[in-house]
Subunit: 152 residues, 2 copies
């Protein structure tokens, strides 16, 4: 089958690269924020986005290899491995992005910490935005691979 | 097909009832906590769990009706409606539970608010635990219906 974004296709490679780039941008924005380590949720976001960078980069390399050597990646064992990995990283990423968003909304709306110049709320917000974009791209990939597994 | 937990089966009815009960318990625990409205994340949790109660209760009624009248619910239109609804409520529930968990961890570990008897952290924790259990049951249902849609 040739679904949009399935493993071993150019669209799949682009999706994986997008996930990897946005997750890396999220880590970068969070690490550059002063005092992020004061909140457990922000540390968890960095960990979850780090896992997603590794996973998406690995799969992007695999897609690139399959595109160059014209290998077919769609055998049931590989696809089920992709599905499990995609779902685990996807759930971790969504949970991390949401918990950080909860904390940032608490800071900015409920506690009014963001008025203080010591709390870099724009960094936090940028990092969370990148994390949500990365999760959205991962959600597309994981639905496509799950659909593929059911149809294989 | 007769997958575990698919619509119109007893296991499906039990899953839906479990979702509904745990989501209602989550709302109850949060509403009974003093001062929950000070955090946006907790208000969002109540809204998301309210939506999940309505959705799961509706589907439980449908399952119950299908079991009594021995109707087959597995036509493509109905199943795709279930899939979309399950995914939307599932993502909302996970996001709500995670953002509330992020705020509660911030309260209990990072800001040490939980030492004060005015902040009912045990209520918050119980509510989040129920929300995660409810989300877990919904995740099972939504994977089963998605699988069914791919195979229909």
């Amino acid at each position: 089958m040739a679904l949009f974004g399935c493993p071993g296709k150019l669209s799949g490679l682009l999706l994986r690269m997008g996930q990897c780039i946005f997750a890396a941008a999220s880590v970068g924005a969070m690490v550059s924020a002063h005092g992020f380590f004061n909140s457990t949720a922000f540390c968890y976001l960095i960990a979850a986005m780090g896992i997603q960078v590794l996973w998406s980069f690995g799969l992007a390399c695999l897609d690139f290899h399959a595109l160059r050597s014209k290998t077919n990646l769609q055998n049931p064992v590989l696809v089920s491995m992709f599905v499990v990995g995609d779902w685990v990283t996807g759930i971790l990423s969504l949970a991390a992005a949401s918990s950080s968003a909860g904390v940032t909304i608490l800071y900015s709306r409920d506690l009014d910490y963001c008025r203080s110049p010591l709390v870099p709320c724009t960094h936090f917000k940028a990092s969370i935005l990148f994390a949500f974009v990365s999760w959205l791209l991962l959600a597309i990939s994981s639905h496509v691979t799950f659909w593929l597994l059911a149809a294989v």
